[in-house]
């Protein structure tokens, strides 16, 4: 299971609708060797959901090879190709490789076992990089599923490329959790919330987390430490107030 934010202990995996849909999408992409996009604002749980389901995929079917990769800002096509070789083989390609050789190496690697390639921070890719990945995916010799994961503006960037937009088989936009769902959801997240009042949880969401799961993780990490130091097992107003002070005053 992927680690929670900053190694938060005692936290459960929140089975939100988007979390479960991510698993379904990954299964569909693998089954049909298709292209998918998971996108949404930062901190809404995309990467956690994808990592969780990739692990599940690896455990469930050892024959499916899954690899994840991400790129720095504005990578070049050659950089993307080289990182893909590294992700698939575990080692960097030789420096002398030409673009043709590099891409043919990738075609050979992607023609092998069933595979899912996950490209994180996909909003950083430019048209040339997306075209190269399309070339690999469309090639008659390759056979792999492709998942783009990205944050703010990801879908806007990717959908500007007709070659990608027309090939997307599954798309899942992540959203912050609506406030009406917060109490029931968060109560199952960490033991400190099990007996907490709804109003308190809604106040935390309204003042700090705003439906963003990463922010809830940050708050929980802080609040759990404070409760432990104070010998409390349940979140209360004092713990919330103290946490706000450590987190920059809330809101």
């Amino acid at each position: 299971m992927p680690a929670h934010f900053l190694g938060l202990t005692g936290a459960a995996t929140l089975g939100t609708r988007h979390f479960h849909l991510t698993g379904r999408i990954i299964d569909d992409l693998v089954a049909h060797k298709a292209v998918g996009v998971v996108h949404g604002p930062a901190g809404t749980g995309k990467t956690f959901a994808v990592d969780f389901h990739l692990e599940r995929l690896r455990e469930r079917d050892a024959k499916i090879a899954a690899c994840s990769l991400a790129f720095p800002s504005e990578p070049t096509m050659l950089r993307v190709a080289a990182e893909l070789v590294r992700a698939l083989t575990g080692s960097a390609p030789p420096n002398s490789r030409s673009r043709f050789q590099l891409i043919n190496t990738l075609i050979g690697l992607l023609a092998g076992p069933r595979r899912l390639v996950v490209v994180d921070e996909a909003q950083r890719l430019n048209g040339a990089c997306i075209e190269m990945i399309r070339h690999l995916h469309d090639h008659p010799q390759t056979s792999f599923a492709l998942l783009y994961v990205g944050g703010d503006g990801c879908w806007e960037v990717l959908s500007r490329e007709p070659m990608l937009k027309s090939r997307v088989f599954r798309r899942l936009p992540f959203q912050p959790v609506p406030s009406e769902q917060i109490p029931q959801l968060i109560r199952g997240y960490h033991p400190i919330y099990a007996e907490a009042h709804d109003a308190l949880l809604l106040d935390v969401d309204d003042s700090y987390a705003h439906g963003t799961l990463r922010d809830w993780a940050v708050f929980t990490h802080t609040a759990a430490d404070l409760c432990r130091e104070a010998g409390r097992t349940t979140l209360d107003k004092e713990a919330v107030s103290n946490a706000y002070m450590l987190l920059g005053g809330g809101a």
Binding site: M77, F100, H135, P162, M163, S166
Partner: protein
């Protein structure tokens, strides 16, 4: 209304004459359907070459690699861009004889590459299909093609399945029924072969053997009676073994698909030849545990296909010749383009020879029997017609096309010198590259092994006959023997 496509049937049932055309296929949504359809239109065997350019390809040498890859050349062998790459690509394209050359993602190519593709298609009387995806305006490219003398049509991507239909998928053949394991053939020489086979084999197995034996007998008799020259029996009774060796290599024994078939064929051939006074001897003692497996040609169909993935035509052809003849290429330098008969895949002897004469080529001074044996051992391929197997035709045509593109004429060498290298060294290097590519390691290409096995002056040390421990000699008439 768009014009009908040439080369297809019109509504009245007439086949329209084919002429080179350029068709720009517009796919404004840049969807996946074009790529999916291109996977279904077949490949070279269907007369179609589909080029999928490497993204951001900008130069002709780089584009040449993509075209060679589309022509099923091994990408690993395409080590780097070269100035001659495009010429090799055009040569292999000419050999493939495509009716359609498809360039996917054409909207991403520079005009210079589109023009090169148009030229290559026109050279081969092929229709050029430019898959133009996205919102990029094709009109500037169309204008550039028109300025170069090419007329274009446009089509919508929805019409592509009709205009360039998918090739029907062949139903996979049912797995062949398992045949009985082939019996071990008797080791007896040809006079007793059939008798031993009858005693040792089951009735069914012997029946099959006898059928094959009878076919080989018939072919040998047919060959002997066709012409006296082909029979190797020239006036005066002197044996000219060359035609016989050639027939054994290219028609009778070489093309056999297995050692089992080759051995039966050999025994039948020996028996018929003996009756006309020719002893085709086979010394199996030094050929290993399954000597009959050494009889068929080492230039098998899979090997020819592997050679066909080489990008350099000289590598493919020189290696095919070397493996066919089982000699290094010392004599290949003699052939000119005019000596090649493409319809029969035959290389005829040139008027003049350029090979280094082997020191032991003093055949004319040897006694009759030694002369025969020496001729068999020291086959000089350029002195006699050599016919390649039929599945090498694409390799031969590609190399001839390449030489023509180099500006070579009928009197120019088939294998020219490269740079400062001598023609013989150029051929030797081509063969070395080719054999390495197909994973072959013949001993006769390795100087050290040649010295160890055949000490003495460097000469033609191997031949098709010697590699099989076959030899020819006349059987003296009983009256002559006294």
């Amino acid at each position: 209304m768009s014009l009908p496509i040439p080369g297809v049937w019109d509504p009245d049932g007439y086949l329209l004459p084919r002429r080179p055309r350029i068709i720009v296929v517009l796919d404004e949504h840049d969807g996946p359907h074009a790529a999916a359809h291109l996977r279904r239109i077949g490949g070279i065997d269907a007369g179609r070459v589909v080029v999928r350019p490497t993204p951001a390809v900008a130069s002709l040498p780089a584009f040449a690699l993509d075209v060679l890859a589309a022509l099923e050349k091994n990408p690993v062998a395409l080590q780097r861009k070269t100035r001659t790459g495009w010429r090799h690509a055009r040569a292999w394209l000419a050999a493939a004889r495509p009716t359609d050359l498809v360039i996917d993602r054409a909207h991403l190519l520079p005009y210079a590459l589109l023009l090169a593709a148009a030229h290559a298609a026109a050279e081969n009387d092929a229709t050029l299909w430019l898959i133009w995806a996205g919102a990029t305006d094709p009109h500037p490219a169309i204008a550039a093609l028109k300025a170069a003398g090419h007329e274009t049509d446009t089509r919508h991507i929805s019409e592509l399945p009709h205009d360039l239909p998918a090739v029907p998928r062949h139903q996979p053949r049912a797995a062949p029924k398992p045949t009985a394991a082939r019996p071990m053939l008797p080791a007896a020489d040809f006079p007793l072969f059939l008798a031993h086979a009858r005693r040792r084999l089951t009735d069914d197995a012997f029946k099959r053997l006898a059928t094959r034996y009878g076919t080989a007998t018939f072919h040998t008799q047919q060959w002997l009676t066709s012409t006296p020259a082909q029979a190797g029996l020239v006036p005066g009774g002197a044996l000219d073994p060359v035609a016989l060796i050639r027939w054994l290599r290219e028609q009778q024994i070489g093309p056999q698909r297995s050692g089992y078939e080759a051995l039966i064929t050999l025994r039948a051939t020996q028996a018929v030849l003996a009756r006309v006074g020719i002893l085709l001897a086979w010394d199996r003692s030094g050929l290993g545990p399954l000597p009959e497996n050494r009889l068929p040609s080492i230039l098998t169909s899979p090997l020819v296909r592997a050679l066909g993935t080489l990008p350099r035509t000289e590598d493919a052809l020189a290696t095919a010749l070397a493996l066919h003849l089982e000699q290094d290429g010392g004599c290949f330098v003699c052939w000119n383009l005019a000596d090649v008969e493409t319809s029969t895949l035959t290389l005829h002897p040139p008027a003049e020879h350029r090979h280094v004469q082997p020191k032991t080529e003093r055949i004319a001074t040897l006694p009759s029997q030694e002369r025969t044996d020496a001729a068999a051992r020291l086959e000089i391929p350029c002195r006699h017609p050599v016919t390649l197997p039929t599945d090498t035709d694409r390799i031969l045509r590609a190399h001839l096309a390449r030489r023509r593109m180099d500006g070579a004429g009928p009197g120019d060498p088939l294998f020219p010198a490269l740079g400062r290298l001598s023609p013989a060294t150029t051929v030797a290097q081509a063969i070395r590259r080719g054999t390495r590519h197909v994973g072959c390691d013949p001993w006769w290409l390795d100087r050290e092994r040649v010295r160890a096995r055949r000490p003495g002056p460097r000469l033609i040390t191997s031949s098709w006959m010697t590699e099989r421990a076959l030899s020819l000699e006349p059987i003296p008439h009983p009256k002559q023997a006294r």
